[in-house]
Amino acid sequence: MKIIGREEIRIDSTLAEEVARRSGENVFLCYQCRKCASGCPSRTFMDSTPTELMRYVQLGMIDEAMKGNTAWFCVSCQTCSTRCPQDIDIAHVIDTLRIIVQEKKIKADTKNMRLFNRIWMTAIKYMGRMYEAGLVGSLNLFTGKPFKDMALGVKMIKKGKIKMIPPIRNPLATMKMFSRAKRLRK
């Protein structure tokens, strides 16, 4: 965690209010007991711990909360939300931060998750179902690692676990859902 001089700290509740408005979660209930950080399986990969992330949101330290990789290493295992003594759904707060970053197109260390989300959601929109071969293929292509997990992929195809033909079923239904959602947001 970066140590910041006292004069630099500004408490700005804009971000906390936006999180509350979107998710219904009140980050000010957090008193930094660190239970979330101690149970978090990906904490060693993160720039800061989930506890620190909550503090950044409380203090309105937008750069620290939004631009680092912490939120993007959350694997949504729900351990923090389950154990929080203040009953804050921390995983929901983290999801909300990720949504804000994507919606506002904020530059952040998203670990390719922005791309992952976009590819998968596009597949749902136009096919109705997820298409593994397409998801893995486009992910590898766009991240410049075309041969990632190649041996594993070949094995899975041989075992009949990955289908090459996209599972297009009733795509009109999902396309209509997405367009109604778009209209609703306007």
Binding site: F45, N112, N117, R169, L184
Partner: protein, 290 residues
């Protein structure tokens, strides 16, 4: 008993053994699984972290379709991730504004009284362990099983309604009913990294390594799972883990429904047992189970 069935994307691809074994086991237990014919992806990994509205609307659409099936009051989703998203949608739809928006996206009314069940819930709550034990024709005597729940079969309890979320034991009860020996171990609800396999593979290799090592430490013959993402990581990544960490894991990873199927005398091929990436043949032959 007739229950609506939502396989989800994984059970039609990487987790095909889970689909096959679930259907076979339900057949034996007299449960009719009515698959929702026009089911769509529940949004699983991406929707909740990029689009709150769709993360609720996608699972809700499947519930609308399930409720249209004649005589159905319950919906079974064997995939822990699908199960979680369906349960989360129900929870979020308690909010009146969210419900109004989602119903507009669906252009349909949301069916509130549909009960969402994981396949393990169906077996424990709707069938019962006595009925399971009655169907056993091949006792799994002496097979040491580490039951692995991962995250979403139990967490968060506010959504799943589970009581024993830190130390669940339902799967152990089922294994005991088959004659197997469920083991006490530490990481049964630890995360495997799930869909991070595709984007942050290092996280998955590290977490999965810990789980395999813990199961090995208690001398497990097999790890039983109830989630296709857990299975894909534990079963499919052992070779990469061995390479990266200089280990020599060859731990068979089986869906708990596959073990049930074996005990019920169903042919291994019909359960999809030969589709695993970490072979289970040697283990099963050694135990005279095939």
């Amino acid at each position: 008993m007739k229950i609506a069935y939502y396989p989800g994307c994984s059970l039609h691809s990487t987790g095909i053994e889970y689909d096959l074994s679930t259907k076979k086991v339900c057949d034996v237990l007299g449960v009719e699984l009515a698959e929702i014919t026009k089911w769509i992806c529940c949004g699983a990994s991406p929707a909740h972290q990029c689009d709150e509205l769709m993360s609720v609307a996608l699972p809700a659409q499947n519930m609308v379709l399930a409720a249209q099936i004649d005589g159905v009051k319950e919906l079974c989703a064997p995939c822990a991730s699908c199960y979680s998203r369906l349960k989360f949608a129900q929870e979020r739809l308690k909010d009146a504004d969210m419900k109004k928006d989602v119903e507009q996206v669906l252009a349909a009314e949301f069916p509130e009284d549909l009960q969402i069940l994981h396949i393990l819930d169906v077996i424990i709550e709707k069938i019962g362990l006595d009925a399971v034990a009655e169907k056993v024709v091949q006792n799994l005597g002496g097979v040491k099983v580490a039951c692995y729940y991962g995250c979403l079969m139990t967490r968060p309890p506010k959504v799943t309604g589970k009581q024993d979320f830190e130390n669940p034991t339902d799967m152990e009860s089922v294994m005991a009913a088959l004659g197997a020996e469920p083991l006490d171990w530490n990481l049964k609800t630890f995360c495997c990294g799930a869909s991070f396999a595709l984007t942050q593979t290092d996280v998955v290799l590290e977490l999965t390594r810990k789980i395999l090592a813990d199961a090995k430490a208690v001398e497990a013959d097999v790890i039983a799972v109830g989630c296709p993402l857990c299975h894909a990581n534990l079963d499919g990544r052992q070779e990469q883990i061995n390479e990266k960490f200089d280990t020599n894991f060859t731990v068979p990873i089986m869906y708990f429904t596959e073990l049930m199927g074996l005990a019920f005398g169903i042919k291994p091929k019909d359960l999809g047992l030969f589709k695993h990436l970490t072979e289970v043949d040697d283990f099963l032959k050694e135990r005279a189970l095939i």
